[in-house]
């Protein structure tokens, strides 16, 4: 009887011990990030970036979890508000990587925040794929752990120049916002236009936050250029649209870089946006995957994603998902996997060279009947372009 009890006890203990390792495997993959929920960066971050993070985590968990080298684990997002302050960004990532020791990180919004977090990322060795960071300056830091998935200025401006050249555009007036983005885009544009033989008849720049650009637009209207290009941020894009219409400035091409891809641009101006061009990578017509992405975003967040950075944010998450499935959570191996492989994403193939995505070309999109159609390059186009742009309604 004594021996039986002992045997039963040992059997019970063994039985209890067996499921324990299996339970330990269910520790979630913790993914940390800081992003602007308040402050000047918040508008962009909440349109293009954080909604994608949330939706992705939910989709992954609904499918059983993130595949880590074949084994599925649930994902847990650890996100904080960075208040649009560089110092808060730095401090939060120090906490996430240094103290909390999360498994993976996601980037903050915008070039400024990404700059700030670069040294921290390098110090702790966490790979990061940024969908809202652009600029030669950023990439020239040659941080091996940073990958820019958004098209860089030269790609975007070359695409615009090609598009305009193919329509025999001879002259253009260009204005840009006095920010790093505007400046870099302008430098790239000057080079691209020079190469394609498009003459810039007027170039002006303006500070962010300007509330009236009519004097500038009137001057440009008087010069009668074929094309008008604004390398602008959303508030200025909106202002320029309203004021160009106000003074009935109708160039053959009207292009404003950032903000045109936002759903609110179409919602605010309605049919007025017909024919306006801007930066945009895809729309629901680009592919079935794109349509699925749009529909899911709309269903989950009650709003459409934007047609540029949102898609890149989603693609960045897909890249990470695929890389983790292959290389696991070892950060060095993960970084190498991201740097060395080609990925299939909603924006098409993505491949990095020296930290820059070289597989996605520069794209020109145009609003047509309520959709931001891709009109250039021809192999990505979802509709032919309206050229010249119809007069403002």
């Amino acid at each position: 009887m004594h021996r039986n009890t002992v045997i039963k006890a040992i059997a019970a203990a063994l039985f209890a011990a067996v499921p324990a390792p299996a339970l330990a495997q269910d520790a979630p993959v913790r993914i940390g990030y800081a992003i602007a929920r308040t402050g000047p960066w918040a508008a962009g971050a909440q349109v293009s970036q954080e909604p994608n993070y949330i939706m992705w985590a939910e989709q992954v968990n609904a499918a059983g979890g993130l595949s880590v080298k074949g084994k599925k684990r649930k994902v847990e997002l650890v996100g904080f508000d960075d208040r649009s302050e560089a110092e808060t960004v730095v401090r939060t990532y120090e906490k996430l990587m240094g103290s909390d020791k999360v498994d993976l990180i996601l980037p903050p919004w915008g070039t400024g925040a990404n700059f700030a977090v670069m040294p921290v990322v390098q110090k702790f060795g966490y790979p990061m794929i940024g969908p809202t960071a652009t600029g030669r300056k950023l990439l020239s830091m040659k941080n091996p752990y940073f990958f820019a998935i958004l098209q860089q200025p030269d790609l975007m401006m070359n695409a615009l120049a090609e598009f305009l050249k193919a329509r025999n555009t001879k002259t253009a007036a260009v204005i840009h916002v006095d920010e790093l983005f505007g400046l870099e885009q302008f430098t790239a544009l000057e080079a691209a236009f020079k190469e394609k033989g498009i003459q810039i008849v007027e170039k002006k720049s303006y500070p962010l936050g300007v509330k009236d650009l009519k004097p500038v637009l009137n001057d440009i209207k008087a010069k009668n250029p074929d094309a008008f290009v604004a390398l602008s941020y959303p508030p200025d894009t909106f202002l320029l649209t309203a004021q160009a219409r106000e003074i009935a400035f109708n160039p053959k091409a009207f292009y404003a870089s950032v903000g045109t891809a936002f759903p609110v641009y179409r919602d605010k101006f309605g049919p007025v946006v017909e024919g306006v061009m801007g930066l945009g990578t895809l729309n629901p017509k680009s592919s079935p995957a794109a349509k699925a992405y749009f529909d899911a975003h709309k269903a989950r967040h009650n709003k459409e994603p934007d047609r540029w950075a949102s898609a890149h944010a989603w693609a960045a998450l897909q890249v990470m998902e695929q890389a983790v499935a292959k290389a696991g959570l070892d950060r060095k191996a993960l970084r190498d996997a991201i740097a060395g492989s080609e990925f299939d994403t909603v924006i098409g193939k993505v491949r990095f060279k020296n930290g820059e995505n070289v597989a996605t070309p520069g794209v020109v999109s145009q609003w047509q009947s309520g959709e931001f159609e891709v009109v250039w390059p021809p192999d990505r186009a979802t509709a032919p372009a309206f050229f010249p742009k119809p007069n403002w309604k």
Binding site: D81, E87, E94, K137, L208
Partner: protein, 321 residues
Amino acid sequence: MSHDLRRIFGLLLAAGAVLAALPWLASDFMLSLALTCLLYVGLAVSWSMFSGATNYLSLATSAFFGIGAYVTAWGFETLPYAVVVPLGGLVAAAFAALVGAAALHLRGAYFAVLTFGLGELVRHAITYGEKTYARTVGRVIADAPEATTVYFTVLLVALLAVAVCAAVRASRFGLALAGIGSDEERAQTLGVNTRRTKILGFTLAAFFAGALGAAMAVRWTYIEPASVFNPFIGFQTVLIAMIGGAQTLIGPIASAVVFSVMTELLRLEFPYAYLITLGVLLILLVLYLPGGMASLFGRDMASRFGRGIAAYFRRAWRPNA
């Protein structure tokens, strides 16, 4: 040196020694938090040294901070960190002296709004200058110094700010400032050169704001006018100093620490509601604690200090009484 002043210096040295050990005891994050506390201690104390004493509410802290940051942005390639930090302070001080000479005849709200406008003017001037002559908008700081180096630098500047503030408060110069604050015309008739005193005080406060800006700039890798000339830095400094009790020494110090820690805790714990909570707390504090947090440290201590100062004032300005 008076007994009180020696005591304060002793405390500072002890605090400095304790805080200097932090890099080996705390995580990167805690160190960053301590850094933020020290930054605002330095800013709030130097602000209250001038504005608390003279009641000339200055919103120029952001301007001085930004100037210091840009001195680092411009100078960091060629000069060592140990040089750009005091240089940032000096450039900010020079700017303050210029501004002070021109604008310190303004009073009250006019002075406040003018100093605010100055911050914006400097920001736009630098944006324009950089864009036109350097064809750039922001500056990248590569090879930033170690986080520990930054910490020690900020610690040093903050301690220096507190020490200088304490020394000023115990000196004739500090009495002159306080005299200007209580009744400027009277101080003038009693022989205080109010113009020179104000300019000096303003400049001294600017030095520390500039040095702190120069020190902190390296943490952000990319310096652009909008983020370093952020008016919020100025607002927060004023807020902290006034809540702590801008006429005292310990008030701004304690307030800076509590404010920084509390904001961080709230931000991490209550992702969306923390700023609302902060706003409500601020309102309640102002409504029900008019003397600022310093009044929590015992009306006795504050009033004894105040009475002692007043007595010294009387003796200093009426030597024959």
